[in-house]
């Protein structure tokens, strides 16, 4: 098990290194980072001076190593707009994004796992059909449209909930539902199919045959075994949630990393964009490593690989 985890740790570090290469390359896509970073009306002379000052004339490999040296210390340069360290700006917004993503995940798990279980246990009943149809719609609904429709109904028409900003619980409800619905739909379908598969296994039949009551069969024998793919997908869904936060935060004016990065892209504030992309990608890598650690406890078979 130790060697498995050591290998996964090593792989995760390699992936982080790859992430840093991609983040570095964002600025070099057009071939001239100086022209990107300076305002469009900069003179050729200014650009040349800036290029020398920033070291953009050095070989790309040298520039990358310099970038990497900064990146491991969290130094991605200063925000072109605010004149503060770019990573600091992003870190300030991180709690808001985590709050939203966490709430979205909580809603997803809280709705999806019971719905999936009931769907599987009461297969082909009206409960199953309703949950399947809702899950299908949830997977087909674009996040931004759902957010707008929720604002239309609950803020504009009913005036029950605020449509923007961060504050108390009432501010969190609409964005969290918006962000969580797609994940809810996905986990519902996964739980349902996972439970159906496990409920057909021999050990479940054995448990029933020896007289174990139905609730413990479902909760202990079946769910425990069906939970393995669910744990895996939670790690992957975190990527969906962090990515989805870009859209959701923009719609609800939620002051998180996603909204900050969209604004930064339009302001051509690339150090902030690079910091945000790097931070969210690293979060995803770290969480998925932790998921793997949990996984080895849930599924002892993995320890022997």
């Amino acid at each position: 098990m130790k060697s498995y985890l050591r290998r996964r740790l090593w792989q995760s570090l390699l992936v982080l290194l790859g992430v840093s290469v991609v983040v570095f390359l964002i600025l070099h896509l057009t071939g001239d980072p100086a022209a990107l970073l300076l305002p469009p009306d900069a003179t050729a002379e200014d650009i040349a001076k800036f290029r020398t000052a920033m070291g953009f004339d050095d070989p790309v490999a040298v520039q990358y190593l310099r970038f990497l040296k900064g990146a491991v210390r969290g130094d991605f340069g200063e925000s072109l707009r605010h004149g503060e360290p770019a990573m600091g700006l992003v870190l300030e917004r991180l709690p808001a994004t985590f709050e939203l993503a966490g709430a979205g995940l909580l809603i997803a798990l809280g709705l999806a796992i019971p719905a999936g279980i009931v769907s599987a246990v009461r297969r082909n009943t009206s409960v199953d059909y309703v949950s399947t149809v809702v899950a299908l719609l949830g997977q087909a609904m674009p996040t931004f449209w759902l957010g707008i429709m929720l604002i239309l109904v609950f803020s504009v028409r009913l005036n029950w909930l605020p449509s923007s900003g961060r504050g108390g619980l009432e501010h969190l409800i609409l964005p969290a539902i918006t962000l969580g619905l797609f994940t809810t739909a996905r986990i519902t379908r996964l739980t349902r199919s996972g439970m159906l598969e496990v409920l057909g296994q021999d050990y479940v039949r054995t448990a029933r045959a020896k007289g174990v009551a139905e609730p413990p069969v479902v909760w202990k024998h079946a769910l425990k075994n069906a939970s393995i793919p669910i744990v895996t997908i939670v790690g992957i869904e975190l990527g969906t949630l962090l990515g989805g936060s870009v859209i959701t935060e923009t719609i609800f004016a939620w002051p998180g990393v996603g909204r900050l990065s969209v604004q930064a892209i339009f302001n051509r504030d690339y150090p902030v964009v690079q910091s945000a992309v790097f931070l969210l990608a690293s979060t995803f890598v770290i969480v998925n490593f932790l998921v793997d650690v949990v996984y080895t406890y849930l599924d002892p078979r993995i320890r022997f690989r």
Partner: protein
Amino acid sequence: MAALPPSVAGEAVALATPPRSAAEREWVTLLRRLVRRRTALFGAIVVLGVVLAAALAPLVAPFDPLEQDIGQRLKEPGWQDAQGRVHPLGTDHLGRDILSRIVFGARIALVVGLAAVLISGVLGMLIGLLAGYFGGRVDDFLMRLADIQLAFPFILLAIAVIGVLGPSLRNIIIVIGVSSWVVYARVVRGEVLSIREREYVQAAIALGSQHWRVLRHHVLPNTFTPWLVVATLDMARVIVIESALSFLGLGVQPPTPTWGGMLADGRVYLSTAWWLATFPGLAILITVLGINLFGDGLRDTLDPRLKV
């Protein structure tokens, strides 16, 4: 999703001419099985409808999607103008007909969807073939690349890159296409791992066939089915991403109608004119639902073991 019981309607579908070759018979059997799944049939009809609407947009759309008329801006659905012409879904903030714009918007959605899926599908197929066939270090390297790709929140990376390159139809297709290969690569790789061990492949290698020949003649044809299922389902995802980019203002630029762009316009008028934002979103929802249902049916028919 679970297959609904075979529909009675499906049985009634008769084929005009009896099939001839074996391959043709196989396709007909496949089609018949698909038709019997009511949800897949529904999905196929929706997709066909969207494709036809997009292809025949100038004939289907009641108005010119770009024609502005400030005199009749923000008119509600079903509104009739002075000449007695009806705007079934109302008009937008510039007096343009919303239904016509939705019909033309389907063109962008489908073009981006098809082109991006083709790029990422071919790329992913190649990477999956190489990783699965050669294994070892090649596999390790390619799968780490996949992990790196997956680490990025997709939409954030896409808007960052398009922000740098500038929004255009070509750039959107390239960015979505180049960064969506992982799911194809993983599925194809999995298939190749099992195909590689089969006797006919081992025999071909033993007989001294070159690698590319084995790949092309023996491995590639057998990975096509799962690839097709992934491509179908991925098309839905790409359409949502295209509309998200347009929604953020990084898609195909106005005045060309896009579903996401219409939604962004409509958001501003949410308190006074609900139909601006509602209908383009419904168009996305219905299209994506149709593709997903069709794709699910395709998977259940072709390759029920496939987990995508």
